[in-house]
Symmetry: C2
Subunit: 302 residues, 2 copies
Amino acid sequence: MITLKQLRYLAALARHGHFGRAAESCAITQPALSMQIRDLEQFLGVTLVERRPGEVMLTEIGREIARRGEDVLAASRDLVDFAQHRAQPLTGRLTLGIIPSLAPYLLPKILPALQSQFPELRLELRETQTRPLIDEIKSGALDAAMLALPLGEADIDTMDLFDDLFLLAVPADDPRPRDKRVAADDIDQSRLILLEDGHCLRDQALAFCATIPRGPAPGTTGMTFGASSLTTVMQMVAGGFGVTLIPQIAADVEARDSRVKFLRLEEPQPGRSIGLAFRRTSPRKADFAALGEVVKGSVGAG
Amino acid sequence: MITLKQLRYLAALARHGHFGRAAESCAITQPALSMQIRDLEQFLGVTLVERRPGEVMLTEIGREIARRGEDVLAASRDLVDFAQHRAQPLTGRLTLGIIPSLAPYLLPKILPALQSQFPELRLELRETQTRPLIDEIKSGALDAAMLALPLGEADIDTMDLFDDLFLLAVPADDPRPRDKRVAADDIDQSRLILLEDGHCLRDQALAFCATIPRGPAPGTTGMTFGASSLTTVMQMVAGGFGVTLIPQIAADVEARDSRVKFLRLEEPQPGRSIGLAFRRTSPRKADFAALGEVVKGSVGAG
DNA sequence: ATTATTGATCAGATAAACTTATCGCATGCC
DNA sequence: GGCATGCGATAAGTTTATCTGATCAATAAT
């Protein structure tokens, strides 16, 4: 079987027309090059070089083989270049999942930075709830996902990105002053509006308001309605239908609506920890580290 | 530096998705394949394969590298195929010289056979006198030449093709009968018409008629005219301006002219030995042998 | 003739690649 | 839980390639 080394030596020989100088240009000795050329000729069953005293001359077929050899070498060089350029983080395709309570607020912050810092990154996004994200990470459909930690999945490694405090969103006409620290007990459980089932944010809010009785309270819609987006929830709060726990990152955006105001919660303030999840065996950890830096920078600044 | 072997192993791994089976398909053991893959990854500085329990999975870049690897392998396979197909004789370009006193008579006999037996042969012909043919063989401009032997050139090997007797061409009204064997002395030296200087045939004819005085004989044109082609010489013979020594192979063709008749010469009949000349170091001797067979077959039959 | 150049050849050293055996880890099955 | 199974990584030892350095043969130039 032929080797790239033989083709490299042949190329050098074609260029120099001289075994000794060709060998020198390959940083080997002349017998080594002679042997490789001989092996190549023997394998191909063709004489590539006409050894003439004082001058070596590629045969007709030798020239053609050398030309084709250059093609092979060029393709292999491309391959190496490709790999080594791609070795720099965040280039090429990366499939990223993100939970719905995060996507519309975080993505606008990070996508511009990602695009400017890593123009060769082709990000493919998928927005869905935590459970399917985890499954898709495990199956390889996703490279990673941004979601709330902890997960408690054995095969999944995670990286902390930032903490996201919860605020209590109430109608603007709520009697409590803006600087009032609300306690969990102060939340009118019967008026709590939440996302539909499956959203981690719903579970986190419920965990905080642990005293809330299971099952829908009579005469309320909050528990049973199950909004599919935080924006919907906020519209309902603005409409005076109830209150909700909303992450800081979302509040920053939704605060534009003057019919709503946000109240901080008593220490220890509840919140969620946002992180990046990926297969423990993933080879793209350098990518994830770079991505994490961008997220941290964008969230801190924005 | 990467090797074709590594690319072959990677291709097998990509196909089988399993180190053990990939190794088996390469007729090596699994550790050998693992090592080559690891070396490749290390050189490229990229993780190509995500080792997951129960399943190996090429990474995004691994797939791309494998794809490019296939390109490289395909190019190298083409190279080998090319060489091995071209290993059969008389394919590709072959530059062949031929002397003018042979070309118009021999080529029509051999070219059809060459083309039908070796359709992949691309013959490049050059018709000129012996001296430039030899020089061009030495310089590599020609692969070989068909001409009259012997040559007495140290760097040139030759192969006998066929012997070509000389006949005496005389006007049809020459008093000698067709079956008369002419002796060298019977040739009217003053009426001898020859090719111009530089043609080997001229020298051979002169050597045969060794008694001919040097320098043009007064009142004759034969020696000084120096025709540039045998056809011209024959036209002059037909016109009654003189006689000439003509090779059998040419006589076969020129005999169509009824104004000329050919007389055989006394034993030992003079003639020339036609052969193929080539660089002693030429790698295409198999080609020349095949060419020689064609020539011998065509001349014998035709 | 003599010397210099050039590629081939040979023996020994070195490096690469392979094989066998073993390990570690994860999974699945009583 | 304990144990077998499958798979890839690792280690040790051996074979195979490959290289170097010295030398040889042929040729060309002096």
